[in-house]
C-alpha cells in the first residue's frame, strides 16, 4: 500500500499552464461552447453536421486534457517510476512493453466494432440532440473513465480479468454474478449483431454476394500466411483489401446476372447460414478464418474511420432530422419504445458507456503497457475515439430525409407490403415521404427496397454512401459506397460472431471443467464441438426468434442488449469504486461512484419499465398479457401479428424477454448490494483492506507519458541516447 502514497507527490507533474496554453484552451472552450450553442438553440433551420464534429472534438479535448489528467495523477496516482507488468514479466509475447501508439491502435481495434454504428442510428428517432448529448457527456464522465480505471487496476494486478477482480475484491457472489452477466451479454450481443447482418442482407443479392466472398478471401489469406509467406501481414492485408473491393464492385454485376438468384436469400435462409457459419468458423483453427479476418477488419476499421471523418468535414452535409422529435417525450417511437429517459441511455451503449470494454481493458491490453501514465492515452483516448465513431454514425442517420429514415427503421410489419402503405405508415407517425422517393432511393443504391430495413446497418450505409459519393464518384457511385459500408459493418460482425462464440465456449469449458475433467482441456475435440454448439444454439435461438418476431426483432431485442451491456458496466464500475475505497482513496470514489449511480438508475428504471410497465408497447409482460387474452378470446390477429401462430410467437418471445429483464435487474441488485457491503467494511476500518495489488518495483525503462512527447521528454530522450552512445 505504501507505494501508492509515497510516490504520489513527486510523480504528479504540477506544471502551471503558461500564457500560450491558457489562450489555446480558452479558444478550444469557446469553439466548443459556440458549437454546443448552435446545436441546442437552432430552431427550425437546417444546421451543418460540422457543428456536431466541433462540439464533440472540443469537448473531448477538454475532457482529455483536464479530467483524464486529474483522474490519472490525483485519483489513481499513476507512477512513471513503477515497473509495469509488461516490463517485469516480459516474455516477448503476452507480456511485452509495447509502443503506446501501437497499443492505442490495438486497443481501439479491440473495443470498437459495429456497436457504435448501430445504437446512435436507432437513437436518432428522438432527434439528433439526445444522442449527441449522451454520447459526448457519457464518454467523458462515464465510458472513458470506466475503461481507464479498469485498465489501471488490472495493470496493477498483472492483467487480472474483470471476473477475477470481482471475485477477489468484492466476493464470490459478485464474482458469479459477473460471470453470468458476461455470458448473458455475449449471447444477446451475438444474436443482435447477427440480426443486424440478416436485416442488411435479406433480399439483397449484391450485399450477400460480397459478404459471402469474404470467406474465400479470408481462407486464401490464411493459407498465404500459413504456407506461402508466413509473417507478411501487411502484404496479405493489402491483397485482401483489394480482393474485398473487387468483391464489392463485382457484386453489382453478379446481382444483375443469372447467378444473382443464388444470392437472393430470405431472412430465414440467412439465419440458417449464419448459424452454420458461426459453428464452423468457431471450431476451425484460428489461422484459417479468424486470424486473417481480424487482420482485414483492423485495416478496414482504421482506414474507414479516418476516411469517414475527413469526408464528413469536406462534404459538410446538413442535418435533416430535428433536434428533438415528439418520440423523445411521448415514448411512442417506432424504432424502439419508451421515452428519452431511460431508453436513449440503454440504446446507445457503445460510444458512450460500454461495459463490454471492461473485458478488454482487463484482458490483453494491461499486460502490454510500457509506462503507467500511458493508461490515459490508451484507456481514455481509445474510448474518446470510439465515441467519435458513434458521433459520425449519428450524423449518417441525421443527414437522411427523416421520412426515409423512418421508412427504413420501422418494423416491416408496421409498413405493409407496398410503397404506398409504407408512405402512409410514415405519415401516420407524423413524417412525410412519397412512394416515389422511396423507390428512387432504393434504385440509387440498386436494392429492391429500402423499407423496413431495421437494425441500423442499412441506414448507416445509406448516410455514409451519401457522404462518400459527394466526394468520390458522385451519384453514380452511391450503390458502390452503400454496399461498401454494409460490407464494412458486416465484416466486423462476422469477426465478432466467430470470436464471441469462442470466448463464450472457453467460459463454459472453464466452468464445466471444474466438475468434469476432460472439459478443462480446451483442445479436446468433442468438448470443443459440444460447447461451441451450445453457444451457437443460444444466440441462434434469439436470432431466429428476433428475425421472425412479428413485432420486429430489433425493436424487441435491442433494449435487452443495451441493458445487458450497461449491467456489465455496473459490474466494472462497482469493482473500480470498491478498489478506490479499499485502497484509501474514498474521497475520490465519486469519480466512478457517480457514473455507477447513474448507470444503476438508468438500467434499473429500464428493467422496471420492461417488466412492470402496463403499456404493452414497453412492458414485456403487459404485451404478453394482451396477446394471451386475445388468443383466449378466439381472435385471429392483433396489431402486427397477422395470424394465430404469429400471436403465439409473440407470447413466447415476450415471456423469454421478460424473464431475461428480471434476471438482469436481479443481477445488478446482487452486485451492488455485495459491493456496498464491502464499501462499508472498508470505510469502518482504519487500515486499508488487503488487496491483490502487486508491490512497487522500480522501472528501468523510459518512455513518454502521452501520445506526443513533451519538450522535456524529448530533451530527456536525447540525453539518454547520448548516454547510451557514450557507454
Amino acid at each position: 500500500m505504501s507505494s501508492q502514497t509515497d510516490s504520489a507527490d513527486t510523480a504528479t507533474p504540477r506544471r502551471r499552464l503558461n500564457i500560450g496554453q491558457i489562450l489555446i484552451w480558452t479558444a478550444v472552450a469557446v469553439i466548443g461552447a459556440v458549437a454546443w450553442g448552435v446545436l441546442a438553440l437552432s430552431r427550425g433551420e437546417e444546421i451543418s453536421a460540422a457543428w456536431l464534429i466541433f462540439a464533440a472534438l472540443a469537448s473531448y479535448a477538454i475532457g482529455y486534457r483536464f479530467y483524464s489528467r486529474f483522474i490519472a495523477y490525483r485519483v489513481l496516482r499513476v507512477d512513471a517510476r513503477r515497473a509495469t507488468p509488461a516490463e517485469r514479466l516480459n516474455n516477448g509475447t503476452d507480456f511485452h512493453p509495447t509502443d503506446r501508439r501501437v497499443l492505442f491502435g490495438h486497443h481501439f481495434a479491440a473495443i470498437a466494432g459495429a456497436g457504435p454504428l448501430v445504437g446512435p442510428v436507432l437513437a436518432a428517432q428522438m432527434g439528433y440532440l439526445p444522442g449527441t448529448l449522451w454520447i459526448i457527456i457519457g464518454v467523458i464522465f462515464a465510458g472513458a473513465v470506466q475503461d481507464m480505471v479498469v485498465l489501471f487496476f488490472s495493470m496493477r494486478r498483472n492483467g487480472k480479468s474483470l471476473g477475477q477482480m470481482a471475485r477477489e475484491e468484492i466476493g464470490p457472489v459478485g464474482g458469479i454474478a459477473a460471470l453470468i452477466a458476461v455470458l448473458a451479454i455475449m449471447v444477446i450481443l451475438l444474436a443482435v449483431l447477427a440480426m443486424v447482418v440478416v436485416n442488411a442482407l435479406a433480399d439483397s443479392p449484391w450485399g450477400t454476394f460480397s459478404i459471402a466472398m469474404t470467406i474465400p478471401i479470408a481462407l486464401f489469406m490464411g493459407f498465404y500466411l500459413r504456407y506461402l509467406r508466413p509473417g507478411r501481414v501487411v502484404e496479405v492485408s493489402l491483397i485482401g483489401v483489394v480482393l474485398l473491393l473487387a468483391a464489392i464492385a463485382g457484386g453489382g454485376w453478379v446481382a444483375e446476372s443469372p447467378l444473382g438468384d443464388a444470392f437472393l436469400l430470405s431472412p430465414n435462409q440467412l439465419t440458417l447460414a449464419l448459424v452454420i457459419y458461426g459453428f464452423v468458423a468457431s471450431v476451425l483453427p484460428v489461422w484459417m478464418l479468424l486470424a486473417p479476418r481480424d487482420y482485414l477488419s483492423t485495416f478496414m476499421k482504421i482506414g474507414v474511420v479516418v476516411l469517414l471523418a475527413v469526408s464528413i468535414v469536406v462534404a459538410n452535409p446538413a442535418l435533416q432530422l430535428p433536434d428533438f422529435t415528439a418520440f423523445a417525450f411521448n415514448g411512442e417511437g417506432p424504432v424502439f419504445a419508451g421515452s428519452l429517459f431511460p431508453f436513449v441511455f440503454i440504446t446507445i451503449a457503445c460510444g458512450a458507456l460500454s461495459g463490454f470494454h471492461a473485458l478488454i481493458s482487463s484482458g490483453t491490453t494491461p499486460k502490454l503497457i510500457e509506462k503507467e501514465p500511458q493508461i490515459r492515452v490508451i484507456g481514455y483516448g481509445s474510448m474518446l475515439t470510439e465515441s467519435f465513431v458513434a458521433v459520425m454514425a449519428l450524423i449518417t442517420a441525421c443527414i437522411l430525409d427523416p421520412g426515409v429514415y423512418f421508412a427504413m427503421n420501422m418494423p416491416a410489419t408496421m409498413l405493409g407490403d407496398t410503397l404506398q402503405s409504407a408512405s402512409a405508415a410514415v405519415a401516420g407517425i407524423g413524417f412525410q415521404v412519397s412512394p416515389e422517393t422511396l423507390a428512387a432511393t432504393a434504385a440509387s443504391i440498386e436494392e429492391s427496397t429500402i423499407t423496413g430495413r431495421t437494425g441500423g446497418a442499412p441506414t448507416f450505409a445509406l448516410g455514409a454512401a451519401e457522404i462518400f459519393s459527394a466526394l468520390f464518384g458522385g451519384p453514380a457511385a452511391m450503390a458502390f459506397w452503400y454496399h461498401f459500408a454494409v460490407m464494412f459493418e458486416a465484416l466486423f460482425i462476422l469477426t465478432t460472431v466467430d470470436a464471441g462464440t469462442r470466448v463464450g465456449r472457453f467460459m463454459i469449458q472453464d466452468t464445466v471443467g471444474n466438475f468434469w475433467k476432460p472439459m478443462k482441456d480446451v483442445s479436446w475435440k468433442p468438448g470443443l464441438w459440444m460447447t461451441s454448439a451450445l453457444i451457437v444454439a443460444a444466440w441462434g435461438y434469439f436470432l431466429w426468434a428476433g428475425v421472425n418476431d412479428p413485432l420486429g426483432g430489433i425493436n424487441q431485442l435491442f433494449p435487452l442488449f443495451g441493458i445487458a451491456n450497461q449491467l456489465l458496466a455496473a459490474v466494472a464500475l462497482a469493482v473500480c469504486t470498491t478498489l478506490l475505497i479499499k485502497s484509501g482513496r474514498a474521497k475520490y470514489a465519486w469519480v466512478t461512484l457517480v457514473p455507477l449511480a447513474w448507470d444503476a438508475v438508468v438500467t434499473l428504471t429500464a428493467s422496471w419499465q420492461k417488466v412492470f410497465s402496463p403499456d404493452p408497447t414497453i412492458g414485456f409482460f403487459a404485451q404478453r398479457q394482451q396477446y394471451v387474452e386475445a388468443l383466449a378470446a378466439g381472435e385471429t390477429s392483433l396489431g402486427p401479428a397477422g395470424d394465430v401462430d404469429a400471436m403465439r410467437q409473440v407470447v413466447v418471445n415476450t415471456t423469454v424477454d421478460g424473464i431475461l429483464s428480471v434476471l438482469f435487474a436481479v443481477l445488478i441488485i446482487i452486485i451492488l448490494a455485495d459491493a456496498v457491503r464491502v464499501w462499508i467494511k472498508a470505510l469502518r476500518v482504519r487500515e486499508p483492506l488487503p488487496s491483490a495489488e502487486h508491490p512497487f518495483e522500480p522501472s528501468k525503462l523510459w518512455a513518454p507519458a502521452g501520445l506526443i512527447p513533451t519538450r522535456e521528454e524529448r530533451a530527456e530522450r536525447a540525453e539518454r541516447e547520448k548516454e547510451t552512445a557514450g557507454a
Binding site: 516477448g92 479491440a110 466494432g113 509473417g231 501481414v233 484460428v286 482504421i302 478488454i360 470470436a499
Partner: protein
C-alpha cells in the same frame, strides 16, 4: 532546433511511421521475439521464422482475444 537537414528528419519520421503501422498490423511479432530472445536467452538458437509464425498463430486457438461490439 535540430541541425539535421529536413530531408533526413522526414525520412526518419516516415521510417518510424512505417514501423508503427507494421507493428499495429502484427507484422513485427517475429522481430520482437528475436530481440527478446537475444536479450534474455543469449547463446541459444532462436526459433526459425516459419516455426515462430505457426506457433504464434496457433497460440490464439487457446485464447482468441476479445472483440467488442
Amino acid at each position: 532546433m535540430s541541425t539535421r537537414p529536413l530531408a533526413a528528419r522526414l525520412r526518419a519520421t516516415l521510417r518510424a511511421a512505417w514501423r508503427i503501422t507494421r507493428e499495429i498490423a502484427g507484422e513485427r511479432a517475429y522481430e520482437i521475439y528475436l530481440e527478446h530472445h537475444a536479450e534474455h536467452h543469449p547463446g541459444t538458437p532462436p526459433m526459425g521464422e516459419r516455426e515462430f509464425w505457426r506457433r504464434h498463430t496457433d497460440a490464439r486457438d487457446a485464447r482468441p482475444g476479445e472483440r467488442c461490439c
